[in-house]
């Protein structure tokens, strides 16, 4: 019995990690009907940003191991992650919806950085490469070469997969492919309650996940921006006709979702301190399953979906074989798609004709 209860605790803490990632997935889907595959890589980016903030000399000198320093790292990573999210939206997803100037210059600039590094391996060479790339991009756009704008959800989905691969592989180049170890920035205490070991870090993660879920519900349902988000979700063109700046609302949605991914990266790294550029792939897929299980687009559903996946995984390992750990989430995905495709809390969607 004691072992079972402990496994329950383990499952809930593993599940809260999935729930954190699933929240962002489901919110972006709810508004844009887009499965943002780059979400799990923004999660990885958040973890690395937290790692660099916590290891910076400024942080080491002024902050110690305290709850405050945990909050600083969390907020810092959320801000940086949301900036990355807005950048991805602006230069990868928006050009897929409508013609947006500067897209070619941006991607040529990145290409130029790569070439500059290959040739020189010095900051100067990289900067020259970026500059050359931007110039080439601007000239091409002046000539009238620009990405064709023809919105289709399949196209944006494929762009999302491309961005995901781009972030994973450039992460291996920039951060290094070898795993790093996330420092202990908040104090840990193990509480013993009736034979159960409760780790204060895991309780923190669960608590923050619940707070973020409530906050997200409030933003989406009770603020003006939230109302605009729901309007965009309901009908993009009608929302634009009603005077909503749809591009800004979509960018805000991505920024919010990416901030959640960044928070997830930090909180999960506190529990499981090994971080590497490919760390987002599997948790991201499982969080996606969690979002589908809870009813994709439904914020409370994502939370429950995450907890169910986490519990199922821990029980499969604790009372079965550890090899089933990664299979169980996908078995659940197949079952839910066969039995109730809209998920536990999802509403039936009627396709508008």
């Amino acid at each position: 019995m004691e072992t079972f209860l402990q496994q329950l605790v383990n499952g809930i803490s593993q599940g809260s990690a999935y729930a954190l990632i699933a929240l962002g997935y489901t919110m972006v889907y709810g508004v844009l009907k887009l499965i943002n595959f780059a979400h799990s890589d923004v999660y990885m980016f958040g973890a690395f940003m937290g790692f660099y903030i916590a290891n910076s000399s400024w942080f080491q000198a002024t902050m110690g191991t305290s709850v405050l320093s945990g909050v600083v790292v969390l907020l810092g990573a959320m801000v940086l992650a949301s900036m990355l999210g807005i950048l991805i939206e602006r230069f990868a997803y928006r050009p897929g919806r409508s013609p947006s100037p500067g897209t070619l210059a941006f991607w040529f600039g990145i290409l130029g950085a790569g070439f500059g590094y290959l040739l020189g391996k010095t900051p100067g060479a990289v900067a020259a490469g970026v500059l050359a790339g931007i110039v080439v991009g601007v000239i091409l756009e002046k000539w009238g070469v620009r990405p064709r704008a023809q919105s289709s959800s399949l196209k944006i989905l494929i762009i999302a997969i491309g961005v995901s691969f781009f972030l994973e592989n450039s992460g291996q180049q920039v951060f290094g492919a070898d795993p790093k170890f996330f420092p202990q920035i908040i104090p840990t205490k193990v509480l013993n309650v009736a034979g159960l070991s409760l780790d204060s870090q895991k309780l923190t993660v669960l608590g923050v996940a619940i707070v973020l879920m409530v906050l997200l519900n409030v933003i989406v349902n009770y603020t003006k921006t939230g109302r605009a988000m729901r309007a965009v979700s309901f009908n993009l063109d009608a929302a634009r006709l009603m005077g909503i700046n749809t591009d800004r609302i979509i960018a805000f949605t991505f920024g919010l979702g990416s901030a959640l991914a960044g928070a997830g990266g930090i909180l999960v790294s506190l529990m499981y301190p090994k971080i590497d550029p490919l760390m987002g792939i599997l948790p991201g897929l499982k969080a996606f399953v969690a979002a589908v299980l809870g009813g994709i687009g439904n914020i409370t559903g994502a939370m429950f979906g995450g907890l169910i996946i986490g519990l199922a995984e821990v029980m499969a390992v604790g009372y079965g074989q550890s090899t089933y750990r990664d299979a169980i989430a996908f078995v659940i995905l197949v079952l839910i798609l066969l039995i109730k495709p809209t998920g536990i809390m999802g509403k039936g969607m009627v396709e508008k004709v």
């Binding site: 004691e2 202990q184 029980m315």
Partner: protein, 379 residues
């Protein structure tokens, strides 16, 4: 870069020397030995430590008059840590430099790539530190001076049952990794033979980050220690999670733990845990202390196990050439196969009929964030 160009220069030099030389190595006034290793790449420290150890052994033998009245020269090639490059440089060493014997590599994958070439050409190869059992199965010209993976399972079983007097031990193995499974199987078998009980046998896969489910199952069986024969990354995470589940018993492991990162990841959770390794710089034996002192004087660093094994590999090869009384590759091979009770810095080495070293292992304990020598366990 400097070292690379030096190697290339020496390589050029020896090719010019050799083209004027006949195939018969006995005629010159030098005995040529080839060494290949990862001097660059992600495992550069492996190759450099080994090369430093070999250089020390080389200088010692040449200062005492060389072998068979000739000077010994070691030609070093960099394989950049790539198996296919290892094969290329070994082919070059044998066919162009005409070395009579080879030293290398550290990583089993690279030794396995190069060994078939040496076997086919009939040139004896001594690997200082490739522990995978398959390495010496390539053929009768391939030797190694370190113990093989399963031996560590036996060492830790003996240590747990006899030194620590434990009766109930749990096993947590990496089921995706041959090394880990091999160690765990041998440990379980020998620990049972020595009268102990394996109370739980759980698995995980390399790359996992959550081990709480397995550790909770293990905790319910109340073991006195947990044998975790994995690599340092997972071991560090396992130690932390065990601590947060209130598991206070020590962890036991093998040389996969040997990394400066181990303590960085595991932190205080690893205090009091034990693992087996090839040698310890704290070993009080005078031969080891002399080696450690000389090495520090020369390279300004503490020799790791790979430097010690490189040193021993070279010494064992020199000893075989001396006993063979000839620089003929086949004669050297026969003498190597007869190596018995050779006293080196990594212990007394005897090569068995499978050309593997039978030698003691040391047990280290994590104490105040440092690795402390506990005892030596003989086969």
């Amino acid at each position: 870069m400097k070292r690379r160009s030096w190697i290339q220069a020496s390589f050029l030099l020896c090719t010019t020397v050799l083209t004027s030389c006949s195939r018969d190595q006995g005629q010159g006034d030098e005995i040529l030995i080839g060494e290949y290793g990862s001097l660059t790449g992600t495992t550069a420290t492996f190759g450099i430590s080994t090369m430093n150890g070999i250089e020390m052994a080389l200088d010692e033998v040449n200062q005492s008059g060389g072998l068979l009245g000739k000077t010994v020269r070691v030609i070093v090639e960099d394989d950049q840590g790539r198996p296919e490059e290892a094969q290329t440089v070994v082919t070059k060493l044998i066919t162009r430099d005409r070395v009579v014997a080879l030293l290398g590599e550290v990583a089993s994958s690279r030794t396995l790539a190069a060994a078939p070439v040496a076997q086919q050409m009939g040139i004896p190869m001594v690997s200082p530190s490739s522990t995978n059992p398959a390495v010496t199965e390539v053929g009768d010209f391939i030797f190694r001076v370190c113990f093989i993976d399963p031996f560590q399972g036996l060492v830790m079983a003996k240590f747990a049952a006899q030194s620590l007097q434990l009766t109930d031990v749990a096993v947590l193995r990496d089921i995706k990794n041959d090394y880990s499974v091999g160690l765990a199987d041998v440990f379980v078998e020998n620990f049972r033979t020595l009268g102990g009980t394996i109370v739980a046998d759980e698995g995980y896969s390399e790359g996992d980050t959550d081990f709480s489910a397995q550790l909770t199952s293990i905790r319910a069986r109340r073991p006195q220690a947990i044998f975790v024969p994995g690599y340092y990354t997972e071991v560090g995470l396992i130690a932390r999670q065990a601590k947060s589940l209130g598991i206070e018993v020590p962890l036991l492991g093998g040389d996969g733990w040997d990394s400066p990162s181990l303590v960085e990841i595991g932190g205080a959770a690893l205090e009091g845990s034990y693992f087996s390794n090839h040698y310890s710089v704290d070993d009080p034996s005078p031969a080891i202390q002399k080696f450690v002192g000389d090495y520090r004087d020369r390279y300004g660093a503490t020799p790791d196990a790979l430097a010690g094994l490189g040193y021993d590999a070279a010494q064992i090869l020199f000893d075989a050439i001396r006993r063979a009384g000839s620089a003929d590759p086949t004669a050297i091979r026969d003498a190597l196969a007869q190596t018995k009770d050779f006293a080196g810095v990594t212990g007394v080495t005897t090569l068995d009929e499978n050309r593997n070293a039978v030698k003691p292992a040391v047990v280290l304990q994590v104490n105040d964030g440092k690795l402390v020598y506990v005892e030596t366990i003989n086969p």
